[in-house]
Symmetry: C2
Subunit: 357 residues, 2 copies
């Protein structure tokens, strides 16, 4: 009743019904040239025996794995993006419907990342990749394009015309964020930015600048800092900006982690966030609603992004022209309590800080 390894094979089913295994295969793959009588008998046997085709054997013959790959960048010591849980959840849900699976790996350096992709391709473990944390000039994209291997990027590079991607309209979002802050009455708005090699950090900075121009405010490079995307980076960035003789009254942070760090510093300096200093983040992390005061932020649904990207990737694998699968999504403002009209002018802020430091 079972194959040599203990599981039911197509051969078992065929013998049980008294047909050739090719016939069973045809039924299972919905070929039309099988009489409905035979079809019924086979389906019944399949159910009875609990037969499920071996995906390994099927893959070997078809040359397709029905598996997608994602290689997550991880920092030296600690540090995976917390957003990845949700992202993976979105992908996995979509794949569950599409009857495919997801292979997850990590890589701790750019080099390791490329090697990992190469290994997974050579060993034929996956049919395509999902790329996260896209860099301005991303070697993975060059690599995969050269190999003609399917992929979808979460976030664009400097030249996004030739491949498939899903991205948030970072620039537009930051334009609208600056407009929002300016409308509250702020005149000096600081940017706590991220590393220049991450493309979204650049897009957000560009949006920040364009927003200032549209509001008729001066673009002052002194009001822009770049920090690693952690809470510590937020503390550091806020410290540098508030230490200026004309400090900003609002800090626009490119991620929530940065914003949470910046809030921490303000508390330590005795400043009231949302009154003395406005702080806005970006990510919509759930925890943002529970810090003090609750953080105003921009949010994208990471989960839905994951699902959409998975679908796009499958299209590309099945032959759709990659450039046909590009999507720009909008983030929306979640207004909580860390923003408000400036209670102090930059000069007053400076005086207070001078006293407290």
């Amino acid at each position: 009743m079972t194959g040599s390894r203990g599981s039911v094979t197509i051969e078992d089913v065929a013998r049980h019904v008294g047909v050739a295994k090719g016939t069973v295969s045809r039924v299972l793959n919905n070929y039309t040239d099988i009489s409905s009588e035979t079809r019924e008998r086979i389906l019944k046997a399949v159910k009875e025996l609990g037969y499920q085709p071996s995906s390994t054997a099927r893959s070997l013959k078809r040359g397709r794995q029905d598996t997608l790959g994602i290689v997550m960048p991880v920092g030296r010591g600690r540090g995976v993006d917390p957003f990845l849980s949700e992202f993976i959840d979105g992908i996995a849900r979509a794949l569950d419907d599409l009857d495919r699976d997801l292979l997850v790996t990590t890589a701790h350096s750019g080099r390791h990342m490329l090697e990992t992709h190469e290994r997974l391709i050579a060993r034929r473990k996956v049919d395509g990749f999902i790329l996260t944390r896209t860099e301005v000039n991303d070697p993975r994209i060059e690599f995969l394009q050269a190999r003609r291997f399917p992929f979808v990027a979460h976030g664009r590079t400097s030249d996004p015309s030739t491949y498939a991607w899903y991205d948030i309209d970072n620039e537009e979002t930051f334009v609208s964020g600056v407009k929002h802050i300016a409308a509250l009455g702020h005149r000096r708005i600081g940017l706590v930015g991220g590393p220049r090699d991450l493309n979204f950090a650049c897009q957000r900075r560009a949006g920040y600048r364009r927003g200032l121009e549209l509001c008729g405010l001066e673009v002052d490079p002194a009001l822009e800092v770049e920090e690693p995307l952690t809470e510590v980076g937020g503390v550091e960035g806020a410290r540098r900006l508030l230490g200026l003789h004309m400090p900003p009254t609002a800090l626009f942070c490119v991620t929530d982690a940065l914003a949470i760090g910046a809030m921490r510093l303000c508390r330590d300096l005795g400043l009231r966030v949302g009154e003395d200093v406005t702080i806005i983040g970006y990510d919509g992390l759930p925890v943002g609603a529970y810090v003090d005061p609750p953080l105003t932020t921009f949010s994208q649904s990471t989960q839905s992004a994951g699902g959409q990207i998975a679908r796009m990737l499958i299209d590309v694998i099945e032959g759709t022209e990659p450039a046909q699968r590009q999507k720009l999504a909008q983030a929306e403002l979640i207004r909580r309590a860390s923003d408000g009209p400036p209670a102090k002018t930059p000069e007053e802020l400076n005086q207070v800080l001078r006293r407290s430091v």
Copy 2:
């Protein structure tokens, strides 16, 4: 130079060298009966052609996938454990060394979870499973044991004697936590617990009770609440406990998310956390250091847990008796600023709250 599908096969290598493909295979699998001269020539060709064996074909023949599976439980709408990112990171790093991969899926219900395991087994996509969020009576464990399919559980069930697991010594940790709080001078200590079907929640409650007894404090069921493991649950649990006529002066929360919610409620009620009310969490979430005041918590290295579990699972797959692979790890207290001697007696606390509500 390449097989019909564009990638280099063992046949290509064999032809290039002028030997049979069996010979190439033997070299690659470190058989000893090949002359070193032939071996060299083959290895050289392998390198030149960039040959990597197809894991699909290899799996088919060997009956082994070199792939581990993990099915993450996810809530209805939103909500994966944020700790899963780190956990997966730990697993992936270990597997990278061991030349294996990780398949990740999600399941949104108990039923779906079982079906998913069954599908992955029947389709022969993985060699073993890592189970997370173990329940007191976990159907997955029964299921996998009946199928004789390898797995390692992260967390124990009520009867942990017959399978492989890795767990934190939850009970002992909570005993020591209660001792710590009592030593600060607290006499009424509340527990913000989790759902009863999660085993770690039960273990932590047991530790909480034993700790009270050891300190000579009364065990009062009114001081125990059970909430979903989210920030909202924390708000709710704290509200119920602080609403008692003899409210606790300390809240011991079974997770950091609960603790963060509880802190939020205290702030809203005008209570100073760490003075009027002591709050301690458990998980060591990075964000805990950035809430106000920084959260005192117990921590386990999730990443290291992932790595160890991966290794245990591989041992079990390779034939080690599961009961031989069981490990109890200790969590350690990370003292920050949300705990301290009680500034108010329960009576005073009650009066203040009566006024404010």
